[in-house]
Amino acid sequence: MDFRLTEEQQDLRAGVRDLLAGRYGREALRASVDSGGALDRGLWRELGGAGFFALRLPEPDGGVGLGLPEAVLVFEEAGRALLPGPLVATHLAAGTVPGAAEGTAVVTALDLDGPLVAHLADADAVLGVPSLPSGEPVRSADPLTPLHRVAAPGSAVAAYRDEGALLTAALQTGSALRTVELAVRYAQEREQFGQPIGAFQAVKHLCAQMLVRAEVARTALYAAAVTADPAEVAGAKLLADEAAVRNARDCLQVHGGMGFTWEADVHLHLKRAWVRARQWRTAGEAEEALAAELLTAAR
């Protein structure tokens, strides 16, 4: 047993981090916010070109031929960078929806626990649905996740639920780890009462708990990626949702008044975390799935 990342996996993660830092840094993120959340098709194609969507397709089919553990590492980086768009749905559609693997098509999914769909206006297809449904645009809490209300949400995503939940957990984990970094950096720079606020235990303890949450979620995520066990996936989604949401809130708290502004990125992490917590598997659904598995295992 060696749970640690292989060298190839570490290289993959570092490569994706570099790619995203160069192509979707802070300026690009703020430009997306200013543009009202419209998808950058050029960036989508570049992600496709880099193998983002075809990662798990077999090599003979034009894919990269890697597995869930590698996909999770890549999506963790996307979550860290707050990369917008229906990344999970398009990844899941690779190999079935033409253009998804290459990033020339944008594919969304009916993955929310209600009659809302993300990125419908930009979508070329909806996962598992023969034609694009019509919907009314609504104002979205997350400025980078446009939402439409559709008539019947349907259950087209059942077959993709576990993989969708796992990859979404990876996005959440990346966000949770990123907000730890943002909080720690701010706590080291910001001075009050003649010293960095990170020297105060009240702030220190907030940051320490953020790391604990993120590390527990990350471990659950990696294990679920290796085993693909539905109960472990449900656990990973539950813990990652909580880590992303609560870490963003604590990060906001560490930033004080600055954290409550539109200019600070903290609210973007929090609002996206809220969206993802409603996708593929909610906390209540995950807890019920885990309870059912616990009872089965206990018999």
Binding site: F3, A199, V212, A223, A236, A286, L294
Partner: protein, 387 residues
């Protein structure tokens, strides 16, 4: 990311299972929790069986009398013994997990030869004389004085929270050999001594915990003479020696407990199903969440063990992250158990009720959660020291 075990590790597990299946039915009945001499004898009997079968000090270095097992083999050992319902390390805890590894790492050849074999055989029990009434979390402020007199130290002071002191033969004792002063930082000037518990001047007074047990004791030291030869490490270097000890404590100390908590969770689910409380969605979801959390904690254990294989078996500060998450989850587990039991959670005979009470110590013992948060914030996240 590889969670599969090698063929060698699987063989090790299989042989251990066979041995446990054969040995556990031979054990005598468990003594009552308050029968300390009985508990000591029971724990010694189990340790002797481990010794004879070659499982004693499994993860200790070979030149210290151990088996030199890898951290993964040690993990398997702890997992399998717990799963099979084998006895806990019990009274041998300090000897096997604190004092022994410290002597193995820092002791002279003569010290290793004197103290390690009896620990491995279960013949001698150790206790830990670290904390004092005025020096708990601020351990470096300890005041128990040791003054050199010829070939002896003469020791005066008092210790508290000394587990198993009533039945211990030896105490790993921290004493101040150089007084606190402007010139000397308080964590310097401390020495690590092996003190015989039957030395004249040692008085042990049991402390009753909120769980009603007398696991702990106060210890009073009145001009106790301990040979200088019993000092492990250099004079005034005891703080560094102690950090070696504590890093072991925070490593794999909770492996068996995580396995036990997962089993307890299964028992709770069965009980809740039988008494109808499973139909309460709030309680059911709470149990589901705990199942997810303890699953993650088990994986975190495997992660830390994988990390420690790289560092040659010395556990890192990842142990603080684990302890923070685990101590909280353990308390939540037993609070949830009380919800499953309902009014029966007020009946002290119930094993879960005693476990609920003892779980209250987990956020205090071995470094409070607040101290652990400081460690994580300062040593992992790099936040400045302060107050």
């Amino acid at each position: 990311m590889d969670l599969t075990y090698t063929e060698e590790e699987q063989d090790f597990r299989a042989r251990l299972r066979v041995w446990l299946g054969k040995t556990l039915p031979e054990l005598p009945a468990k003594p009552s929790p308050d029968d300390w001499p009985g508990r000591r004898a029971y724990d010694a009997g189990w340790q002797r069986r481990l010794y004879d079968a070659g499982y004693a000090g499994l993860h200790w270095p070979v030149d210290a009398g151990g088996r030199g097992a890898t951290p993964t083999q040690h993990l398997i050992f702890l997992e399998e013994t717990e799963r099979a319902g084998a006895p806990y390390v019990g009274a041998n805890f300090v000897g096997l997990l604190h004092a022994g590894p410290t002597i193995a790492a820092e002791g002279t050849a003569a010290q290793r030869a004197r103290w390690l074999p009896p620990v491995l055989r279960g013949d001698e029990v150790w206790c830990q004389g670290f904390s004092e009434p005025g020096a708990g979390s601020d351990l470096a402020s300890l005041r128990t004085r040791a003054v050199r007199d010829g070939d002896d130290y003469v020791i005066t002071g008092s210790k508290i929270w000394t587990s198993h002191a009533e039945v211990a033969d030896w105490c790993e004792l921290l004493v101040r050999t150089d007084p606190i002063s402007e010139a000397v930082p308080k964590h310097r000037g401390i020495s690590w001594l092996a003190m015989p518990m039957d030395a004249p001047g040692v008085t042990v007074r049991p402390l009753r915990t909120l769980a009603g047990s007398t696991e702990f004791a106060e210890m009073f030291l009145d001009e106790v003479r301990v040979p200088v030869a019993n000092r492990v490490g250099a004079e005034n270097d005891g703080w560094r020696v102690t950090m070696v000890t504590l890093s072991f404590e925070r490593g794999t100390a909770f492996v068996g407990e995580v396995v036990a908590c997962r089993r307890t969770l299964g028992e709770l689910a069965r009980t809740a199903k039988a008494n109808g409380r499973w139909d309460d969605p709030v309680l059911r979801r709470r149990l589901g969440r705990l199942y997810g959390e303890f699953g993650a904690l088990w994986r975190l254990t495997q992660w830390n063990v994988s990390e420690s294989e790289r560092t040659g078996g010395v556990p890192g500060i990842g142990g603080s992250v684990f302890k923070l998450a685990y101590s909280h989850a353990r308390q939540e587990l037993y609070d949830t158990a009380a919800e499953v039991l309902g009014a029966d959670s007020l009946v002290l005979d119930e094993e879960w009720v005693l476990d609920r009470l003892s779980s209250l110590s987990y956020t205090i013992a071995a470094g409070t959660s607040q101290i652990q948060q400081n460690i994580v914030a300062e040593r992992i996240l790099g936040l400045p020291k302060g107050r």
